[in-house]
């Protein structure tokens, strides 16, 4: 199981309930496939940076989920066939999160070491930890 973020843009002219319906559908796919929803965020209407299919505005929705490849495949297929969906993107986040945790741990350890009275460790080693 991996962590993913799916962000998609819905046609802003359709009513709010429709968006909820789409969200429920995606949620259904994820949960029946054995995945877990961590967050559903409706980011609201935003101007698109460029025109997509004559749309200048879009309603952004963000899903943070724990899932596997099959679930993601199914979600993407469904998003593709749904008419009000203008565009979507899926991003894998677990690798990034792991890296972040490593840095955090390192910083904490370093801070603890400094508290015990040692002078500042060489700055160079932060970079090593970040890799």
């Amino acid at each position: 199981m991996r962590n993913y973020e799916i962000m998609f843009i819905v046609n802003p002219t359709i009513p709010e309930e429709e968006i909820d319906k789409i969200n429920a559908q995606i949620e259904g796919i994820v949960t029946t496939g054995g995945g877990k929803i961590e967050k559903i965020e409706k980011m609201g209407k935003r101007r698109l940076s460029y025109e997509i299919d004559r749309h200048r505005e879009g309603y952004y929705v963000l899903f943070v989920i724990v899932a596997n490849g099959d679930i993601i495949k199914e979600c993407e297929r469904r998003l593709r066939v749904m008419d009000p969906i203008i565009k979507y993107i899926t991003v894998r986040t677990d690798e990034e999160a792991r890296r972040l945790e490593k840095i955090r741990n390192y910083r904490q350890k370093r801070a603890a070491r400094r508290d015990r009275g040692a002078t500042a460790a060489p700055a160079q080693s932060i970079e090593e930890a970040m890799q």
């Binding site: 940076s49 460029y50 879009g58 565009k87 979507y88 955090r104 700055a123 970079e127 970040m130």
Partner: protein, 84 residues
Amino acid sequence: MRSVKEKRPAGQKQYYRRKKVCKFCVERIDVINYKDVKLLSQFVPERAKIMPRRISGVCSRHQRQLNDAIKKARNIALLPFATE
């Protein structure tokens, strides 16, 4: 990154160009998220091209992460590919 470490004594070398430092290293921004439009847009000037490192002073690691983030953001129309 090394440049962050070096602290010039005040008043010295004042004729030289200011040493550029990587914003992400200085502010300890670990993850450059594609959703953070406000942050990313600082690195895409008017024409919506990605700002080169030699101008922004971002270190190579962070420039790489920044590149990825900007490209993701472009994909989902948070940032433009080009303007006019």
